[in-house]
Amino acid sequence: MSGQQDVADLLADQLDRLLAKHVDREALAVIEGGTFPAALWKQVDDLGARSALVPESADGAGLAWRDAEVVMRVLGRHASPVPLGETMIGAALLAAAGLAVPEGPLAIVAAPLTLDAEDRLSGTDSPVAWAPVATWLIVAAERAGRRFVCLVDREDVGLAPVKTYGRTPSAAVRFDAVRAVALAPAGRYVDPLCALATLRSVQIAGSLEAVLPLCVEYANVRQQFGKPIGKFQAIQQLLAELAMQTAAAQVAGMYGCRRIDSGAGWEGVAIAKIRAGAAATSGAAAAHQIFGAIGVTDEHQLHQHTRRLWQWRSEAGSELLWAEKLGASTLAARGASLWPSLVDRPRW
């Protein structure tokens, strides 16, 4: 267990250094303009992170989600310039269904599709992050009540590029009786929606972790009324609010990962996404208030984080939709069963 954590920490550290070296405001602007950073992707992929969540029996690193969480958080801290998170969870989903993990970047289609008797997929999803540049799409589909994990060649799918807040290359995808390259019944494992929602929760935590020190530094440096603005209680309240939301998002992301590891239902994922999504909203608002007008300029790096916060809170089910699902499920049982359901394992 701790050995796995060491592997994850090492991987996260390598990724952190690599991204710190290559990803700055200008590099992100190029990526957001639609140019895939192929050289950076190759270097990231060479770290071996794509198989972090793949079992050792399938030649992966065999990390648990709770261990790999730190890798996903580092990715979020650097504004996720490459589809590493999607590729990691896509590989995990394929491996869990006994399918081989191909080369090339993966994108996740979180909306469930239908699978017909001839193994053809139909349905739509939008926006799918990284779809325009991915080699493969990982898809969940249902046939007669059974769930399948499918590998689809991106070239076989109808794509319409969409603009998103986050400006990660994204597309609306359309499956008109598309034949999967490979498919297998989904195991007991988490489905693409839950996996992606958890990834987004952890990325939100990472993004807030990057925003917080920017704000602290600005509060210490920016002078008004003859002193650093951090001397003002009003600014201190905002910094504290941002720190609280950052902490809550971090704990939420870790919680979601642990619930996935435990093989429990979707509720843990919902809890993580609800709390991280709310943290994205409040945290981004506090950060912008601290920075004032400079923070909304194109030349400042803050928006490269806050636009992603607004993107990620809504992707893979917004915090509002997950809250509705969790609330409906909570309301299906008597009030007296709420407390036991929260503290007695293993349900949540």
């Binding site: 952190d16 710190a20 700055d24 992100l28 709770r66 801290r77 650097h78 504004a79 972790e209 990057a210 917080l212 020190p213 920017l214 602290v216 530094e217 509060a219 210490n220 650093p228 951090g230 209680q233 201190q236 309240q237 910094l239 504290a240 720190a243 609280m244 950052t246 902490a247 809550a248 971090q250 704990v251 870790m254 642990r258 919902a270 809890i271 609800i274 709390r275 709310a278 790096q301 490269q304 915090e319 509002l320 997950w322 809250a323 509705e324 699902k325 969790l326 609330g327 409906a328 909570t330 309301l331 008597r334 009030g335 007296a336 709420l338 407390w339 929260l342 503290v343 007695d344 949540w348």
Partner: protein, 391 residues
């Protein structure tokens, strides 16, 4: 570079309560299922500010006070995690634990840490039996958020100390047996500030003490103003070291700020609200969203609280994480009564037979204190900001 090097990271590690605690949890829950039958919605709303000596003695009889203390002092030598299980069950049910809350959470642990052997022998077993109720004397009429400006004075005299001055907002002083009070034993507040403060253990029956209950907006009297008029204390009533009072008080704070009492005060509303919504037939989307948010919020707060517990148990002092947890937790417990209003069209009137309305009536009016007690959230946020490295 996108990430500059300013270390603002808070550290929260996952911690799960081990399965071995399940029988203890069941035992507490079974007891509460019986005991809670008699409590009205108004009473349950009081939660850890409900003062009931009889209930406290029963809790003590079951071994649930001083759980982590050594058996030689009347404790039960159980783990902090077992204690956490017991107190979160008690609070989730809104139990009236006020008659032992301060002793169990703060005063007992303080004595264990810095008290003399004779202080421990005299007070800890009485606390653990539920027979010594403690309060904490910190705030003064002129020293609230700016606690270090306090002026109540302890003067060294032959054979002991003389206390004079006033304390205010002291919860349940009128019912308690003892106070642990912070007094100035060194130079004046203008000069010494955090230095020169000492903690004393005060028998509230001592001559020269006058306790005046302060009626609050609910028509109840939970806090008090206390006048010390040349109150004599024997030498051995000093706690810890003279002049170390500020540091001793601060060492307690991570415990005080991160417990389940900082996010569960309004929790008993939630099950009743769920039942009220179910009774309307199909709950609407807004109701589902608010309930879902509340549940998620609570689960993550509990995760944060448990994470702090694990670090405290490992001998660390995660003050920053505890402060973050307290502000988020008290926000949540203040928000919950408003969520109930949003979803149930509750009217601002209550009769004893409407449990939810009575509980909501109490909690709506008590909620302002949640972000005041134990340090206002504004003071907490200043502490957090300094912890982040704001210069």
């Amino acid at each position: 570079m996108l990430c500059r090097i300013v270390n603002t990271a808070s550290r929260f590690q996952a911690f799960e309560i081990p399965a071995e605690c399940a029988p203890l949890r069941r035992e507490v829950r079974a007891f509460l299922a019986e005991a809670s039958q008699a409590w009205s919605g108004w009473e349950v709303g009081h939660s850890w500010t409900g003062f009931d000596r009889e209930f406290t003695r029963e809790i003590a009889r079951r071994g649930w006070i001083g759980m982590t203390w050594p058996t030689c002092y009347g404790g039960h030598q159980r783990s902090p995690i077992e204690r956490y299980v017991v107190i979160e069950e008690l609070l989730a049910a809104g139990s009236p634990v006020g008659a032992h809350w301060v002793a169990d959470r703060q005063s007992g642990p303080l004595l264990l840490r810095v008290g003399t052997d004779s202080q421990k022998e005299r007070f800890l077993p009485a606390m653990a039996r539920g027979e010594a109720a403690f309060c904490i004397g910190l705030s003064e009429p002129g020293a609230g958020s700016d606690l270090a400006s306090l002026r109540s004075r302890a003067t060294h005299v032959d054979g002991g100390w003389r206390l004079s001055g006033r304390k205010i907002w002291t919860t349940y002083a009128q019912h308690c047996d003892f106070m642990i009070g912070l007094f100035r034993s060194g130079g004046p507040a203008e000069v010494d500030r955090h230095r020169g403060l000492s903690q004393f253990l005060i028998d509230l029956k001592s001559s020269g003490i006058e306790i005046r209950p302060i009626r609050d907006l609910l028509g109840e009297s939970h806090f008090n103003e206390i006048t010390f008029d040349e109150v004599f204390l024997p030498e051995d009533q000093l706690i810890g070291r003279e002049g170390e009072g500020w540091a001793q008080v601060n060492a307690e704070l991570a415990f005080e700020r991160s417990g389940p009492d900082r996010y569960l005060s309004s929790f008993p509303l939630l099950p009743l609200t769920i039942d009220a919504l179910r009774a309307t037939g199909a709950p609407d989307r807004l109701s589902a969203r608010r309930i879902g948010e509340s549940v998620a919020n609570m689960v993550i707060l509990r995760e944060m609280s448990l994470s702090v517990l694990a670090r405290l148990e490992a001998g660390e002092t995660p003050l920053q994480e505890a402060a973050l947890t307290k502000v988020l937790g008290t926000d949540f417990e203040q928000r919950l009564p408003e969520v109930v209003r949003e979803l149930t069209d509750a009217v601002p009137a209550f009769s004893l037979d409407d449990r939810l309305a009575a509980m909501l009536g109490y909690l709506t009016q008590a909620a302002p204190t949640f972000s005041l007690r134990g340090g206002t959230n504004e003071i907490m946020c200043g502490i957090i900001a300094r912890g982040l490295g704001v210069r």
